[in-house]
């Protein structure tokens, strides 16, 4: 397992703990997006970006209204919790470790 994957694993566990003990600053929608993205990234190489369509189709995000979903994505991007590829402004996302 690569170092980045191990680091990402640890970060995921700590985010869960943060949420569980009530220290998380995220809204419910943002938590669902982060969890969905974490699950999707766990199934592939953690350095790969995931399309917003796939995140929206995930069972944790499928019920979120589109405006709320994209507003939460924008919020998470501006706080630095998500990253975009260098040559794009939207569409592909990755959890920022």
């Amino acid at each position: 397992m690569k170092d980045l994957e191990r680091y990402a694993q640890l970060r995921r566990v700590l985010r869960d703990m943060e949420d569980d003990i009530g220290l998380s600053d995220y809204t419910v929608t943002e938590k669902n997006i982060i969890s969905a993205l974490a699950h999707l990234q766990a199934d592939r190489d953690s350095e790969e970006f995931v399309a917003s369509k796939e995140i929206k189709a995930h069972k944790l995000c499928s019920d979120i209204p589109n405006p709320s979903f994209f507003r939460a994505l924008k919020n998470l991007l501006s706080c630095g919790h998500l990253a975009l590829p260098a040559d794009r402004k939207k569409g592909l996302y990755r959890l920022e470790v």
Binding site: R6, Q9, R11, V13, L14, D16, D20, L23, G80
Partner: protein, 193 residues
């Protein structure tokens, strides 16, 4: 056979990280926790700590690095034991070092045998609580082993209190270490963003 050696193979980055982390946590306990325990007047302070952060390093390093964490954990345990405890390598000290080194791997193996998956791929569990639970199982193994080998050195009246302190101290050590890491990452995030 090759797979066995590959699993426990030496990696200098992992060795450095685990060895340094274990020793740093032990120094924290030795110079912060133990003086507070002595000031409060806990009689089992000579044998056990109520907040043993190095146990958190044992559990987390095995969870992250599996077999590759065993060699650095063993070396760190031996280094600390010689530095702070008996000052010499005896059979008792080696036995205690082995118990401390292998309590976490054995706990993960036992948990794996009953079919419980603590990896992040298991989406049905709350991971940090599962790691804490495995830390508690490792603590039971550690306290049983330490009680067995150190019983000639512990006052009989303090045996039960010492075992209880091992259990509490080790498990609290895992929780507090996770909390320290969590707060550290939050600070980094706030500083960056």
């Amino acid at each position: 056979m090759l797979e066995f050696f590959r699993r426990f193979s030496f990696n200098k980055e992992i060795f450095a990280m685990v060895f340094i982390a274990y020793c740093a946590c032990y120094f924290l306990v030795e110079f912060l926790v133990y003086p507070v325990q002595m000031a409060v007047g806990l009689p089992q302070t000579n044998y056990a700590s109520v907040l043993f952060l190095p146990h958190g390093i044992r559990v987390l390093s095995i969870w992250l690095y599996k077999g590759r964490a065993v060699i650095p954990l063993f070396c760190a345990h031996l280094f600390i034991y010689v530095l702070f405890w008996l000052g010499e390598v005896s059979l008792t000290s080696l036995a205690v070092v082995f118990v401390g080194t292998f309590c976490a791997p054995v706990a993960f193996i036992l948990v794996g045998w009953i079919g419980f998956d603590v990896s992040v791929r298991n989406t049905e569990i709350v991971h940090w609580r599962s790691i804490l639970a495995v830390g508690f199982i490792a603590s039971v193994i550690n306290s049983l082993g330490n009680s067995l080998f150190l019983s000639p050195y512990i006052e009989p009246a303090l045996h039960l209190a010492t075992v209880a302190t091992y259990l509490v101290g080790d498990t609290l050590g895992v929780f507090v270490l996770l909390l320290i890491l969590l707060l550290g990452f939050r600070l980094t995030r706030e500083y960056r963003g």
